[in-house]
C-alpha cells in the first residue's frame, strides 16, 4: 500500500506532472507566472481546491452516472472555488488582496477537472486526497519554476513582493539578483511565458532522455558481467 502511495506522489510531482508531463492547466500557468511570488500564490490556492475537489469527487464516485459526470464535476469545482473565494475575502483579507485576482482563474484550470475524471472518480478517498496534494505541489513547483525564470529575465528579481503573500517574516525571500536591471519586458508578457515554458520543457526532456540512457547502459553492463 505504501508503495502505491509513493507512486502517486512521484506521479504528481514529476512523472505525471500536470504541466511538464500532461501539458494541462497552461492557461492559469501562463497568465500568472510573471513573478515567482504570483506563481507560488496561484499554486497554493490551486492545491487547496485540487485537494478538496478530489476528495469530494471520490466521495460521490459511485453515485455519479457516466452521462452527467463532467457537469457534476464542474459544478463541484466551481462551487469549491467560489467558497474559497468568499472565505478568503471574509477572513484572510490581506492574503485575498494579493491572491484574489487568481482565485477565479482556478475554475478554468482543466488540470483539476482532469484529476477528477482520471483519478478521483475511480479511487478511494484517501488515494484521491494524496493524489490531489501531490498533483497540487507538482503544479506549484512548475508555477514557481516558470515564474522564477520569467521574473529573473524580465525584471532581475526573485520573489518580489513575497511579504505581501506570506507575511513580513518572508521579506528575506525578496532578492534583487541584477541591480539596475533595465528589464526585459517580453519575458513578463504572455509570449515570454510561452518561450520560457518551451525551454523548461526541453530541459526536462533532455534530463529524462539522459537518465533513461544511463539506466539502459547500467542494465546492459549488469547483464554483460
Amino acid at each position: 500500500m505504501s508503495t502505491a502511495y509513493r507512486d502517486i506522489i512521484r506521479d504528481g510531482l514529476w512523472t505525471q506532472n500536470m504541466v511538464f508531463a500532461q501539458m494541462l492547466a497552461l492557461c492559469p500557468l501562463l497568465a500568472v507566472t510573471g513573478t515567482a511570488t504570483n506563481g507560488l500564490g496561484m499554486g497554493l490556492a490551486s492545491t487547496a481546491v485540487l485537494l478538496c475537489a478530489n476528495v469530494a469527487v471520490a466521495l460521490i464516485r459511485n453515485w455519479v452516472s457516466p452521462s452527467v459526470r463532467i457537469p457534476i464535476f464542474i459544478v463541484i469545482i466551481a462551487s469549491l472555488v467560489t467558497l474559497v473565494d468568499m472565505a478568503m475575502n471574509a477572513w484572510l483579507y490581506e492574503l485575498y488582496q494579493v491572491l484574489g485576482l487568481f482565485i477565479a482563474l482556478i475554475v478554468c484550470n482543466c488540470g483539476i477537472l482532469g484529476r477528477a475524471e482520471a483519478f478521483a472518480s475511480k479511487r478511494p478517498v484517501a488515494a484521491a486526497a494524496v493524489d490531489g496534494l501531490a498533483m497540487g505541489i507538482g503544479f506549484t513547483l512548475a508555477l514557481v519554476a516558470l515564474g522564477a525564470v520569467r521574473e529573473l529575465l524580465g525584471s532581475g528579481t526573485l520573489f518580489a513582493d513575497a511579504r505581501l503573500l506570506l507575511g513580513d517574516a518572508f521579506h528575506f525571500m525578496e532578492i534583487t539578483l541584477i541591480p539596475e536591471y533595465q528589464g526585459f519586458l517580453l519575458m513578463v508578457l504572455p509570449p515570454g511565458g510561452f518561450l520560457a515554458l518551451g525551454f523548461l520543457m526541453a530541459l526536462q526532456r533532455v534530463w529524462e532522455t539522459r537518465r533513461a540512457r544511463q539506466t539502459e547502459a547500467s542494465a546492459v553492463s549488469d547483464t554483460g558481467v
Binding site: T35, S65, P66, I72, S79, L101, F102, L189
Partner: protein, 210 residues
C-alpha cells in the same frame, strides 16, 4: 439484486442522471447560499475597514480633526449614480472632501477614492478594488508602486496635462499596461470636473453643524 447492480441499471435510465445532477446542483447552491450568508457580514466589515483606511490615506494627516467617516453626504453624479462624499473638517469648516470614483480598467472597473481640498487640489488618490493583470496593471496599488501618489497636489488649472506620457501627458504609463494608468488618469480628471461642478454644494453645511 445488490446495490452495485441496481445502480448500474439506474445509470441507464433517463431520470437518474437528471436527479443526480439536480441533487449536486442543489447541494452546491445551498452550500454557496449558506457560505454567502456567513461571510457577507465579515466581507462588509473588512471592506468598510479598508474604505476608512483609504479615506484617511487620501487626506493630509493634519486636515481632519474629527472622524471623517461619520459625516457622509449623498450626491448624484453626472451619470445618475449616487455617490457618497465624506467631508473632512478643521475647526468646524469643511476643508476637504473625499469621494469614490470608478475607472474602466483593462479587466473591469477600478474603484478609487480621491480627496480634494477647497482649492480644487488633490490631497491623494488610492485604489480600493481592481482586477487588473497581476504583475502589470496592479502597480496602481500603493503597496506595489508609488505611482498613484503622482496625483497629489495636482489640480485642473495648475498646468497638468491630464494624460499618460505615451499620450503626451504628465503621468507615467506602466510597461506592458498602458490601459490601466490611462483609465485611472481619466477617472481622476473626471472626478475633478465633477468636484468643480459640485464645489459650492459640497462645501455648504446647511444640513449639519459639527
Amino acid at each position: 439484486m445488490d446495490i452495485t447492480a441496481r445502480r448500474a441499471a439506474w445509470f441507464t435510465t433517463v431520470w437518474y442522471p437528471m436527479v443526480a445532477l439536480g441533487c449536486v446542483t442543489l447541494i452546491a447552491g445551498a452550500a454557496l447560499a449558506l457560505a454567502h450568508r456567513i461571510t457577507a457580514p465579515a466581507i462588509l466589515a473588512v471592506e468598510t475597514r479598508t474604505l476608512i483606511a483609504s479615506l484617511t490615506q487620501v487626506l493630509p494627516s493634519d486636515v481632519a480633526d474629527h472622524d471623517v467617516f461619520s459625516d457622509p453626504v449623498e450626491l448624484t453624479n453626472s451619470s445618475g449614480q449616487t455617490l457618497t462624499v465624506y467631508r473632512a473638517r478643521h475647526e468646524g469648516e469643511i476643508v476637504a472632501v473625499v469621494f469614490q470614483q470608478v475607472a474602466q480598467g483593462y479587466a473591469g472597473p477600478i474603484d478609487l477614492v480621491m480627496g480634494v481640498d477647497h482649492a480644487g487640489q488633490i490631497t491623494g488618490v488610492r485604489v480600493t478594488r481592481h482586477s487588473e493583470t497581476p504583475g502589470l496593471g496592479d502597480k496602481i496599488e500603493i503597496r506595489r508602486d508609488p505611482w498613484i501618489t503622482s496625483f497629489k497636489g495636482r489640480s485642473l488649472d495648475d498646468g497638468t496635462r491630464w494624460a499618460v506620457k505615451p499620450d503626451g501627458g504628465d503621468f507615467d504609463a506602466f510597461s506592458g499596461a498602458t490601459i490601466t494608468p490611462r483609465a485611472v488618469v481619466a477617472a481622476v480628471k473626471d472626478g475633478l470636473h465633477w468636484f468643480e461642478q459640485q464645489q459650492t454644494h459640497l462645501f455648504t453645511t446647511e444640513d449639519q453643524t459639527p
